[in-house]
Symmetry: none
Subunit: 221 residues, 4 copies
C-alpha cells in the first residue's frame, strides 16, 4: 500500500472523528461510530491509531496545527504584524470553528491514560517546535517582548482561550438552558467571542504594551 494511501485513510478517520465531534459537541462518539462514519470497520481504526485517546489527540493536534502554521506564516512573511491580525487569526482558527474548543477541553481535562509515553513525548516535541517558531516570530514583530516572551504570550493566550471557553460551556453551560427566563445578572451577560477578544487584548496589552482599541469592554478605563 502506498504511503499516500495510508495517509489518506489516516486522514479519513480523523475527518470522520471530526465530523462526529462537530455533529454532537456534548458527547464523544465511540470508536464504532467513528469507524462507521469513515465507512470502515472498527478494527481498521485500530490499524491507524493505537487507542481511542490517541485518535482524539491526533484530531486535536491537527486542529491546533492549522493555527500555529498560520501564526508562523504571518510572522515570517508579513513585514508588519498587528495585534488585530493576531486576534483575527485566533478567532478564525480557535474560536469560530466549533471543533477546537470542546476538543481541547476534553483532551486536556481527562485524557492521557492510554497514550504511550513515546507518543506523548513525540506529540509534545512537535508542539514545542511549533510554539518555539511561532514564539520567535512574535518576538521579532513585538520587540517589547522579553526573550522567551513570545512563547509565553502564546501559552497564556491559549490558556485564556480554553479557560474562558470552559467557563462558558462547561458546568456553566448547562445553565444557559435555564436562562430563558428573567435576566439573571449582568455578571452572566457575556458572550464568549466578545469576551475572549477583550481578554486577549488585555493580556497582550500587559505583555507587549499594545494599547487596546478604544471602547473595548472590560479593559482599562
Amino acid at each position: 500500500m502506498q504511503a499516500s494511501d495510508k495517509q489518506e485513510r489516516h486522514d479519513a478517520i480523523l475527518d470522520a472523528a471530526e465530523r462526529l465531534l462537530l455533529r454532537s459537541p456534548d458527547r464523544v462518539a465511540n470508536v464504532a461510530e467513528v469507524a462507521d462514519e469513515a465507512g470502515l470497520a472498527k478494527g481498521t481504526v485500530y490499524l491507524y491509531f493505537p487507542s481511542k485517546e490517541e485518535l482524539l489527540l491526533a484530531v486535536h493536534e491537527r486542529s491546533t496545527d492549522g493555527f500555529f502554521r498560520e501564526v508562523i506564516s504571518l510572522c515570517e512573511r508579513q513585514p508588519r504584524v498587528e495585534l488585530d491580525a493576531m486576534i483575527d487569526l485566533t478567532r478564525r482558527h480557535l474560536v469560530e470553528p466549533p471543533l477546537f474548543l470542546p476538543l481541547a477541553a476534553r483532551c486536556f481535562g481527562s485524557m492521557a491514560h492510554s497514550i504511550s509515553p513515546g507518543n506523548a513525548l513525540a506529540f509534545k516535541l512537535r508542539m514545542a517546535a511549533r510554539l518555539e517558531r511561532a514564539g520567535a516570530g512574535l518576538e521579532r514583530h513585538f520587540p517589547t517582548l522579553a526573550p522567551g516572551g513570545g512563547v509565553a504570550l502564546l501559552r497564556r493566550s491559549y490558556a485564556l482561550i480554553v479557560g474562558l471557553w470552559q467557563m462558558s460551556a462547561g458546568a456553566g453551560g448547562a445553565v444557559n438552558c435555564a436562562m430563558a427566563g428573567p435576566d439573571v445578572s449582568p455578571v452572566f451577560a457575556w458572550s464568549y467571542p466578545v469576551e475572549v477578544e477583550a481578554a486577549l487584548r488585555a493580556l497582550w496589552q500587559g505583555m507587549v504594551g499594545v494599547p487596546p482599541r478604544p471602547g473595548a469592554p472590560g479593559g482599562q478605563r
Copy 2:
C-alpha cells in the same frame, strides 16, 4: 432528622469526596468509594446529592467559595489592596491546594450532563453573587478598571489559572513521565506556579496598569 444533622452528613460526604480526590488526583473516585470513605452506604449519598456530578460540583463550589470569601473580605476590610496581595491569595487558595485545579478541570471539561437546570441556575446565581461582590470590591481598589472590569478581571484570572494548569497537567502531563531523558526543549521548562504568577501579573498589568515586579519572567522587556 434535624436540619443540622442533615447539613453535617452533607458536609461529611463532601469531605470524603475531597479526601479521595486529593488522595489520587488523576482519577475520580466512584460513588461507592465516596460512600465508603464517608462511612455511609452508597444509596445514602443519593439522599444528599441527586447525582454524582452534582456532588462534584458541590465540592468544587465549596473550594471556590473560600477564595471568593477572602477576596471579598480583603476588598471590603482593607484600606488598600495591592496586586501582590491578590497574587498571594490566589496562590494560597487556588494554586497550592492540590484539590482545586484538577477538580475545576473535570467540572468544566466534561460535566453538566446530569445537573438539573434548577440546580445549575442556583449554582450560577451563587457564583454570580460572589463574583459581583468581589468584582465591585476590586473596582474600588483599582480605579483604573472600567465598570464591570472587576468581574472581568476575576473571570479572566480564573480562566488563566485553569487553562494553564490544564496545559501543564492534562495531555501534556503524560509526557512528564517520558521526560526523564535529555532536556527536551526550553519551551517545556516552565513550572506551573511560577508561570501562573507571571501570567496573572501580565493580565493585571494589561487591565489595571499595575507595573510588574521587575525581573518577573516572560513579561515585557
Copy 3:
C-alpha cells in the same frame, strides 16, 4: 441480606455456570450467558465473583470438593478400605460426571491470569487441607505407603485421570468425529472409562502393592 441468601446466590451462579458447561462442553459460556442462565444481570455476577476465571475456578473447586469429602469420609469412617472402593468412588465423582474433566482441563490449561494472588493462595490452601487429610487417611488404610505417600498417590491418580482424559478428548478428540469409517488402529481402541480404571489400578499396584484384578487389560501378564 442474610449470609445464607448470599451463599444461595453464590451457589445459584455456580449452578448456572455448571449447567452451561455441561450443556456445551466444548466451549466456555461468556459471563452474560451465565448471568442469564442464573436469571441475573451481568453485573450481579461480578458482585459475587471478581472475574470470570475466579468463577470457573470456584466451579472446579466445588466439583473437586465432593470427591475429596468422600475420600476422607471413606477413610475416616470405614474400618477397611479396598482399592475397588477407591476406584468406584473415582468413577462416580470424577469420571462419570461430565462436568469435572473438561473443566479441570480448562482450569489447569489456560487459566490463572486474572486470579488474584490472595485468592489463588486461599484456593491452594483449601486444596492442601483436603489433600493432606485424605492422604493421611489413605496411609492408615494402606500401610505399605511410605510417609507422604498418601498425598502422592492422590496427586498421581489425579494427574492420570486428567492426563488420560485430555488425550482422549483434546486434540485427539477431534478425531473421534472422523473415526466413523474404517477401524483405524487397535491403538485407538480404548475407551476412557475402562482405560482410566486400568491405569489407576496399575498406579496403585505400583504404590501400594495391591494386586490387580485378574484379567484387567493392559496390566502385567
Copy 4:
C-alpha cells in the same frame, strides 16, 4: 516452487512458533507475531497451515516425534533396555525442554475446534504408528507386559507427565507467586522434575514389576 523450498518454509514457520512459545511460555503468540518472527507476512502462514490451531498441533507433533523416535531407536537397537534409560530419555525429551509441556497443555486443553477431520485423522494415524512401534519395542524388552501393555504404558506415562505438569503450572502455578511468604504446607513442597520421576517409577513398577530404586520418595515403604 520446489517441494523442498515448501518444506523449508513450513519448518521455518514451526521454528518461529517454537521460539515464541519458548520466549514467553505463559501466553500464545498471535499469528502476526509468528509470521513476523519467521520473516513472512501474516497471509503466508495460511498458505502453509490452514489454521492457527493446526500450526500449534504441528509444533506439538514435531516436539513429540523426537521422543518417540528415540524410544523406538532405543528399543530396536539396544540389546537391553532398563527403566532408568527410559526415565532418562523422558527427562531429556519431555520434562526438560521447556517447550513440550506448556504446549501439550494448550493443545489438549482448549484445542480442536478448527482442525479439519481429515487432518485430525492423519495426525492420529501418525501418532498411532509411532505408539505402536514404540509399544511393541517395549513389550519385547519388558516381557512381563501383557499384549498391548507397551502402548498402554506409554499412554499412561504420557498422561502422568502432562497431568502432573498441569497441576504444578496451571491454576496452581499462579500461587507460586504468592508463596513467597511462610512455607504453606508440605503438601506443596514438591518439585515437578522429582515428582514426575517418582510417579513414573511407581507406574512402571505397577505395570512391569521393575523394583523402584531404593530411597525414591513417595513410593512403597
